[in-house]
Amino acid sequence: MTSAAHSKTVRDLRQQLVKSQTTSIDQQILPTGIRSLDRLLPEGGLPTASVVEWVSDAPGLSATSIALTCVAEFIRLPGAFAVLDPDRKFHPIALPSFGIPLSRLLLIHPAERSDVLWSLEQVARCSGVRVVMADVDGVSTTALRRLQLAVERSGVTVFLMRPASALRQSSWADLRFRIQCVKFSKRIVDNGDPVRRLTVQLVHSRNVARQSGRVVLKVDDETGDVCEVSELAGAASAQ
């Protein structure tokens, strides 16, 4: 087999692989609201009908804020924004600062931990929901796979907010991001004030054609806004 024929075969196989990974529902690509994050993703945004994990190295690193910036883009389409809040710590008053009206929020308070995954799956099956966000610690691969099957039919996007311990688990999610804080000593001083910076790393992608990489974001402490600073060179896309 010649080299050209070999390359063509590999390209055809990759296209078939990508096709086999697409969902049964018409998937759309929506911007994240942060341009550098969009550039990290080859389609230029986040796919609907997918499961996205946001893993934070520590609480208070604005992982939820970054996810909510994406939610604000998603709810430009019809559908509710659901939040599963078993610990009753979600404070909706902050939502308008992300451009999310309070009237779009469906808040669900499962009383028992055992009801959280069941509730999440029910919400993931409902096409009246556009995006659902949930804090989950341990999620079995079976549960994640059920979520995936559910969203493939309904078109819902699931944002799972997970602690750093989730990195030890392999991921069945479509995308996994890791949020870390740039150490204070390594920060760039901006107008005399060491601005807080985060790195968002695309750790895993189910679609092998998607490249991994990381971006650096800046957090405005006055407004809480997350905005881009620069983009570090991503790893080469899988060839």
Binding site: T64, A80, H91, P101, S119, V129
Partner: protein, 569 residues
């Protein structure tokens, strides 16, 4: 919604008399005590006091309290002593153009009037599941909570027209007002200047030119009650006669003038009841309705000599009862939003099971699905000997025709959401699924109000269809003001340092690790007014720790202790 029956004693008497009785005058009893037994006649003291306060002539003997239009034309007026009224009723001259007038005098029976009003309430059940009687003496109106019901009739206007038509068919004339609250709906329905037992034009206070409230249906758009209330007379504020007289002496004749009175001066000039009514009218104080029990409830029961011993048997019994309930609902063309089940166990203890759905349904399958989910959260440790099931009735929604020719079967997003809420509520409980509303409260813990999607004890959830529509509508704008607040708020603040320790300088321990503060923003002082029951005085700081976490902490200005309240995640 307030459904007022003007001149109710006369309307009631006319409907019962059957034959066309034109001129009618009702008077207080000639003898309050029955001569034979020496007992007082059955009459509420509050009703008698009310009438005697409005008609001083009734204190010394029987007096007329209500007249029909024909009797009014004959010269009989409410408040007139009975003897004088009878003499007015005798025609003094006759001419070829006059017909002899026959005014029928009847004894006023407030208890019978009240019972007739309660019976009339049953005619209005099909419009709203929650119907209540006005709690004032000598009531002349019914109060309905039509939250979520209007879309089932095609809007509030259609609902009110239906109600007016239905009441006309039963022989009653009603005036309906729809507004945001009980107090304002009552005010608009009584806005023609008449007091409760009044009839006739002479007591009607003249309205300003161009203002006409004497309409069968008044609907005030949401949020605009305050604007239109200003135009009404003070008699529409549900105040006692003594308070009205004081306000009259002060030259206060309109609600606009009433609202301009200094709030702190009201308790010293008016009664506690008046202050409460004014606050209810302003929307500062909430008001609850006491729903009338249904005269003919939809219920089903089961009991047997051999108890149900396992979950499957209990499920079959509940399935049987649900089908009996649905049969009754179909016959009465009603739906249900809630099934309340009481299961009596062998040792006479009871278990309660509630299944709620977001919209009225007649579908046994859907109701059983929700009941099955509820049962999964319950433990049945003892055999069940009896089960009683009661349905909260609600009007059925107008059927919508689906698109027959669509390539794929599809539902509106809000219909999908409604089904989701039913399933979640079935398993998690009816309080578990909520929408939220911003509240003007300085305390961060109270800054939002949670609003359950499923029906509670007082009937359907408020504004349900609007909320479902808003949840899925991408055109809904952000109307709430920006507030830099953490996305995670602890249910109760956690102590991180006791006075005189300063965590901003010395750090603190959180989640098992010592945290040093490297950046501080603040303070932002948040405090409540001094007269608030649960007052709060705090200086909040947004801090960043060495590991990059952004936290919301505060110093309590009273104790000087430090607390962690939120996380900017």
């Amino acid at each position: 919604m307030c459904v007022r029956f003007p001149n109710w004693p006369v309307q009631r008497l006319r409907s019962e008399s059957g034959a066309e009785v034109s001129a009618v005058a009702l008077h207080t009893p000639q003898v309050v005590f029955e001569p034979a037994s020496g007992k007082q006649k059955s009459i509420h003291q509050s009703d008698l006091r009310f009438i005697r306060a409005h008609f001083p002539s009734a204190r010394s003997g029987p007096a007329v309290i209500a007249v029909s239009q024909e009797a009014w034309s004959a010269g009989i007026r409410p408040g007139m002593p009975l003897a004088e009224a009878r003499s007015m009723a005798q025609p003094s001259t006759r001419s070829s153009h006059e017909r002899p007038g026959m005014t029928q005098f009847a004894e006023w029976s407030p208890l019978i009037d009240r019972e007739a009003l309660l019976k009339t309430a049953e005619h209005l059940r099909s419009f709203a599941p929650v119907v209540a009687l006005d709690d004032l003496p000598v009531p002349d109106c019914l109060l309905l909570d039509i939250s979520g019901c209007a879309p089932l009739f095609g809007g509030e206007s259609a609902l009110a027209e239906h109600a007016v038509r239905r009441l006309r068919e039963t022989g009653f004339y009603a005036r309906i007002a729809i507004s945001d609250s009980i107090a304002t709906a009552w005010a608009f329905s009584h806005a023609d200047g008449n007091i409760q037992t009044d009839s006739g034009p002479s007591r009607r206070r003249p309205m300003a030119a161009g203002e006409q409230w004497d309409l069968p249906i008044i609907i005030i758009p949401p949020g605009q009650s305050a604007t239109y209330l200003q135009e009404l007379p003070v008699s529409a504020a549900r105040l006692q006669l003594a308070d009205l007289e004081i306000l009259g002496q002060l030259g206060i004749h309109s609600i606009r003038q009433l609202f301009l009175l200094p709030v702190e001066d009201l308790p010293s000039r008016l009664t506690d009841n008046a202050v409460l009514r004014i606050r209810q009218l302003q929307g500062v104080e909430s008001e609850l309705m006491t729903p009338l029990p249904e005269a003919n409830p939809v219920r089903a029961t089961w009991s047997a000599e051999f108890p149900a011993t396992n979950r499957n048997e209990i499920r079959q019994i509940l399935d049987y009862l649900v089908n009996r309930i649905v049969e009754q609902l179909i016959v009465r063309n009603l739906g249900t939003t809630r099934l309340d089940c009481e299961l009596t166990q062998e040792d006479k203890s009871t278990l309660h099971l509630r299944a709620s759905v977001i919209r009225p349904v007649q579908c046994a399958t859907l109701l059983m699905d929700v009941i099955t989910l509820r049962m999964e959260a319950m433990a049945f440790r003892k055999p069940v000997t009896a089960v009683s099931m009661h349905a909260a009735i609600a009007p059925m929604p107008v059927a919508r025709q689906r698109d027959l020719f669509s390539a794929t079967e599809h539902l509106e997003p809000q219909d999908e959401l409604a089904a989701l809420v039913n399933r979640l509520g079935g398993r998690l409980g009816h309080h578990a699924v909520k929408t939220v509303l911003r509240v003007d409260d300085a305390r961060p813990e109270q800054a939002v109000r949670h609003h359950a999607m499923l029906a509670g004890d007082t009937g359907p959830s408020h504004g349900l269809e609007d909320r479902l529509q808003d949840l899925v509508n991408p055109e809904v704008p952000v109307t709430e003001e920006f507030m830099n607040r953490p996305i995670h708020l602890l249910q109760s603040p956690m102590v991180i340092a006791k006075a005189p320790t300063d965590p901003l300088r010395d750090g603190f321990v959180w989640q098992g690790k010592h945290r040093n503060t490297i950046r501080i923003s603040g303070p932002e002082r948040i405090e409540t007014a001094w007269w608030e029951e649960s007052s709060m005085h705090r200086d909040y700081y947004r801090i960043e720790t060495t590991c990059g976490s952004r936290l919301w902490i505060f110093s309590d200005l009273g104790s000087r202790d430090w607390f962690l309240h939120g996380v900017f995640d």
